[in-house]
Amino acid sequence: MATIVVHRKWEAVSPTRQRVMGLVELGSALIMLLVFTLKVQPGQMATFVMTPGGLTQGIAGNWVVPAFSTLMALTVVNFLLGMVQLVRGFGRWTNAVLGVVVAFFVFSFLTWATAGKSLNLLGMLSAAVLLAVPIILGAFSGVLCERAGVVNIAIEGMMLMAAMVGALVGSVTKNMWMGLLAAVASSVLLAWVHAVLSIKYKINQIISGTVINIFSTGMTSYLSSKFLQTYQELNNPPIFPRVPIPLLADIPILGPLFFNTNLFVYLVFLLLIILQVALFTTRWGLRLRSVGEHPKAADTLGINVFATRYMAVLLGGVVAGIGGAFFTLGSVGRFDEMMTAGKGFIGLAAMIFGNWTPLGAFFAGLLFGFTDSVATKLTILGTGIPIQFMAMAPYITTMVVLAGLVGRGQMPAADGTPYEKE
C-alpha cells in the first residue's frame, strides 16, 4: 500500500474573539469590584429567602451571607476566569465559562442590591423559570426548523397568534385543553404558510417570516381591540393550575422551582429530553439534520428533502404554539396586544447561544428568563437604576449574545437556503 499522508486539522483559532471575551470577563470583575464590592458597608448581611411565597411544600431556610466577603470572592473568581480566558482560552468550554461569569456577575449585583435587606431569591428564580418557558419553547421550535435548514423568524408571530387563539377558544369553550389545542392549530397553520412559501416557492425565508409576523401583529391587535377588549367574557380563559408532583415537589429549592408548577414547565422538560434524544440518536434525527446540512447529499441517498423540511417546520409550529398558549393559558389568563413582547426573537437568540441544540437552548433560555426576572424584581427593591433601564436587561443580553460575543457556533450548513432539485 502507498503511504497515507495524515493531515492535521486546521486549527480553528480566533485569537480576537478569545481576547475580547477575556477582556469582557475582566471588565465584569472590575465593575464588580468598583461598583458592588467597595460600595457595601462592612458587616452588612444580605438575606435571601429560599422559599417562594404561598407554598407549603419544599420549604428551605433563608440564606444569610456577609455581603462584602461574598462579593470579594465572586470578584476574584471572575477575575481569574477572565485572566485564563485572556491568556490561553477555554476552547470548547468558552461559552460555558462565559455563562458562569455572567451568573456570578448577576449574583454579585443581587448581593449588592440586597445588602442590609432581604430578597426572595427563590421567588425570583421561580418567576425566572416561568419567564423562560416561552423563550425555551420558541428556541426549541427554532432548533427543529433550522436543523432541517429552514430559518424561522416567524416564531414570534406564531406564538402571538397562538396566545390570542388560545385565550379566545379557551374562554368560549371554558376548557383550557380546547384552548391549548386551538392555539397549537393556529400556530401550525402559520407554520404551514411559512413552509409553503419558503420550501415550495423558495421565497427568502426572512421575508416570509417577517410577513407572518406582521400579519400576526395586525390580526391579533385587530381582533383583540374589536372583540376581546370589548366583550370581556371572550378574554377570560381558565388557566392550567399548579400540579405538584408527589415527592419531587418536597425537595427544597428544586421542588418549588421545577416540580410544583404547571403543565407548561413539565412540557418543557419532556420536550427537552425527547428532542435531544431524537435529534442525535435516531434515524429520524439523522435524516432531519442531514437535510439541514447538505440537502443534495441527502437527496442522492433517497431522502425526501421537501417532505422532511415540511415535517420539521410543522413540528416547530406545534412547539411554538404551546409556547404561545403559555402566555394566556399558563400565566396571565387574558390576552393583551403584543403580549409576546419579542419572546420569540429572544428564543431564536437562545437557540443560537445554545448552539442549535435543545440542551443548549434550554440553558440559554433559562439565562434570558433570569435576566428578565432580575429586572422585574429589582425594580421593586429600588436600586436607584431607572426602571426603563432595568426593563431593557433581557433585550440587551440578547443583543450582546447575537452581536457575536459568543461566536457563531455550528450553524447547520444549509440553514436558510432553499433546496432546488436539478
Binding site: 500500500m1 502507498a2 497515507i4 493531515h7 439523522l286 447529499a297 442522492t300 431522502i303 436539478e422
Partner: protein, 520 residues
C-alpha cells in the same frame, strides 16, 4: 452472459443543444471503462441519466440484459448503480459512519440508530477492499483522499455493482490519485464494474481497460490503452491535431518585478490562510505556484492584486510598496490579472464583449473623454482585439455570458494582455477549458514571458505548473514549503510536497521517476 450494463441509443436534448446523440455503451463485469471527453461533451449528462437525475428523450437501459427505467437516484441505487460525485456528497459535521449509513440506517428498538452495527459493516468493507478509514472520525477532519474513500464505501455499503466515478481526481494530489487507481483496480478485480469519467489523458492510459471517447454528444471512437497514446486520444477528443507540449525557450530572467516578503493574509472567516510567504518573480520568468486547492493560493493572489488587505508583511511591485494599494493602483503599475473564477471575478456577464474588454481602462483616454465614454473607439478597439485574439463571438455587442468558457477566457486574456504590463498574475487560467483553448492560452502566457513580463502562475493542475514554469513554488497549509527550479523538479517530488511531506523527507527529486509504478 449479457453485459452488466448496456445503454442503447441514449439521446438527450436540451433547448438548443443535443447533449447526447444516440449513445451506445456496454460495460462488462470487472471492467474499468473510461469515458473521455472535453467539458461539455456530454459525459456528465449521460451519467446523470444513468443515475436517474435526468430522463432521456430516447434510448434504453439494460442491466444484465434486463430493461429498466430509472426515474430517481433511489431507482439507480436499487439497480446497483452508485456514483462518486465530483463534489463529494458528504456532511462534514457527521461521522464517517453517519454519512455512510444515512438513508440506509441500521436501527434497533424502533428508530434508534445502531451505530456499532453500521461501523462493523464499514470495517468489514474497508478491509475487504483495502479502503482504510476510521468509522468514528468526523468527515470534516479527513483529508480529501480519505473523504473520497468514504464516498466509495457509501456505494459498497448499498451493494452497488456499477460504480461511476465523475472526474474523481480533480481534487486529489498526484499521490492520492494513484492510491485511488489502486483501489479502483482492486474493486474491478473483485467483480465491480467501473465507469471512469475524465478529461485527463494520462489517467485514462494508466487505469482503464477500455476507452470510449465522446465529442459533442456522440461517441467518436473506442480503443484500449495498449493501442493509444496521449496524442491520438487528444486528437480524438478535440477533432484535430493538438500540440500537448508547450514549446518554450530557456528563460532569461531579468530584474525583480514582484517581491513578496513575509506575507500573512486571512480569509473571510479571519483564518490565517497565507502564513508568512516570501518569494520574488523576475522579469521574463514564470513562477508557478503548485498546491492542492484551498491551501492559501486564492488569498495570496487576492493580496497581490490588491483585492484583499494583508494582515502583515509587504508586497513590492517594481520597487514600489503596494501592500495596501488599491486594485486600480496596482493595475496602473502594469499588472494583469487572470482570476480563478472568470465568471465571478473576471467578467461582467451581462455586459457586451466590448465593454468587458475595456474594463481596466474605460476611464482613461481614448476610451473616455471627461465623463463620457467614447463608444466608437471602444468598439473599434474591441473588434481589433476580437480578431487578434481569435475570440469566437457573433459581434462585439454580444453579452459575454452567452459565450463559451474558452471564449470568455479569451476576452479576459485580450483585455489583460493588450495593455503594456510588467506582471501577469494568472490563477487557474485554463480551468474548465478544452484541450484546444488550453493550448492557446499556454502559448500566450509563454509569449508574454518572452516579451519580458514577470508571470505568477497559480494552478492546482500539477501538469500545467510543471509544463509552463521556470521555477515552482509549492504551497501547503498557507506556507511555501519549497521553491525548486523546474528542470530539477519531478512530478512525484512536487506531489509529495503538495501533500505536506517536508522537503527533507520527500528526498531529492530523481530523474524520470513515476509514482504509479512505485505503488505496486
Amino acid at each position: 452472459m449479457p453485459p452488466v450494463l448496456e445503454l442503447k441509443g441514449i439521446t438527450k436534448r436540451f433547448p438548443g443543444v443535443l447533449a447526447n446523440d444516440h449513445i451506445d455503451l456496454t460495460l462488462n463485469e470487472g471492467e474499468i471503462l473510461a469515458l473521455l471527453g472535453e467539458n461539455g461533451a456530454g459525459k456528465s449528462t449521460l451519467m446523470n441519466i444513468l443515475y436517474g437525475l435526468y430522463q432521456p428523450d430516447e434510448g434504453e437501459v439494460f442491466i444484465r440484459g434486463e430493461k429498466i427505467t430509472i426515474h430517481s437516484p433511489i431507482d439507480a441505487i436499487r439497480a446497483g448503480i452508485g456514483m462518486v460525485h465530483q463534489h463529494f456528497m458528504l456532511i462534514p459535521v457527521f461521522t464517517v459512519t453517519e454519512n455512510i449509513m444515512l438513508g440506509a440506517e441500521s436501527v434497533r428498538m424502533g428508530d434508534f440508530l445502531d451505530r456499532p452495527a453500521a461501523a462493523a459493516r464499514i470495517r468489514e468493507i474497508s478491509s475487504r477492499y483495502g479502503l482504510e478509514v476510521d468509522p468514528n472520525a468526523y468527515v470534516r477532519d479527513l483529508p480529501v483522499g480519505v473523504q473520497q474513500r468514504v464516498e466509495i464505501i457509501k456505494l459498497l455499503y448499498r451493494e452497488a455493482n456499477i460504480l461511476i466515478f465523475d472526474e474523481p481526481t480533480a481534487v486529489l494530489t498526484p499521490q492520492e490519485a494513484d492510491e485511488l487507481f489502486v483501489i479502483m483496480r482492486e474493486l474491478a478485480r473483485q467483480g465491480k464494474s467501473i465507469i471512469f469519467i475524465t478529461h485527463k489523458l494520462r489517467e485514462v492510459l494508466d487505469v482503464a481497460d477500455r476507452i470510449m471517447v465522446i465529442r459533442r454528444g456522440a461517441v467518436v471512437g473506442e480503443t484500449v490503452p495498449a493501442q493509444a497514446d496521449r496524442q491520438t486520444l487528444a486528437a480524438m477528443m478535440v477533432g484535430r491535431e493538438v500540440r500537448l507540449e508547450v514549446e518554450k525557450r530557456i528563460a532569461r530572467a531579468g530584474d525583480v518585478v514582484l517581491e513578496v516578503h513575509d506575507l500573512v493574509v486571512t480569509d473571510a472567516q479571519k483564518q490565517i490562510t497565507v502564513d508568512g510567504v516570501s518569494f520574488d518573480v523576475r522579469a521574463g520568468e514564470i513562477l508557478g505556484v503548485a498546491g492542492v486547492q484551498g491551501n492559501g493560493q486564492t488569498e495570496l493572489v487576492e493580496a497581490v492584486t490588491g483585492l484583499r488587505q494583508p494582515v502583515s508583511g509587504s508586497i513590492r511591485l517594481l520597487g514600489q510598496d503596494v501592500t495596501r494599494a488599491t486594485p486600480r493602483e496596482i493595475i496602473e503599475l502594469g499588472t494583469a490579472h487572470v482570476p480563478e473564477d472568470r465568471q465571478r471575478d473576471g467578467l461582467v456577464l451581462s455586459f457586451p464583449v466590448a465593454e468587458n474588454i475595456v474594463l481596466c481602462t474605460y476611464y482613461k483616454p481614448p476610451f473616455a473623454r471627461g465623463v463620457q465614454l467614447q463608444r466608437e473607439i471602444i468598439y473599434e478597439t474591441a473588434n481589433r482585439l476580437i480578431a487578434d485574439f481569435d475570440i469566437r463571438t457573433p459581434s462585439a455587442s454580444t453579452t459575454v455570458g452567452s459565450l463559451s468558457g474558452g471564449n470568455q477566457q479569451k476576452v479576459i486574456i485580450a483585455r489583460e494582455f493588450s495593455r503594456p504590463i510588467h506582471l501577469l498574475v494568472a490563477s487557474q487560467p485554463t480551468r474548465g477549458l478544452d484541450v484546444g483553448s488550453i493550448e492557446y492560452i499556454h502559448q500566450r502566457i509563454v509569449q508574454k514571458r518572452d516579451e519580458g513580463c514577470a508571470v505568477l502562475l497559480v494552478s492546482p493542475e500539477l501538469d500545467e505548473v510543471m509544463e509552463l514554469s521556470d521555477r515552482i513554488a509549492v504551497m501547503y497549509r498557507g506556507k511555501i514549503v519549497a521553491i525548486v527550479p523546474a528542470e530539477s523538479a519531478t512530478k512525484s517530488y512536487i506531489g509529495l510536497l503538495m501533500a505536506g511531506v517536508s522537503p527533507e523527507q520527500a528526498g531529492a527529486p530523481q530523474e524520470g521517476e513515476r509514482i504509479v509504478e512505485s505503488t505496486f
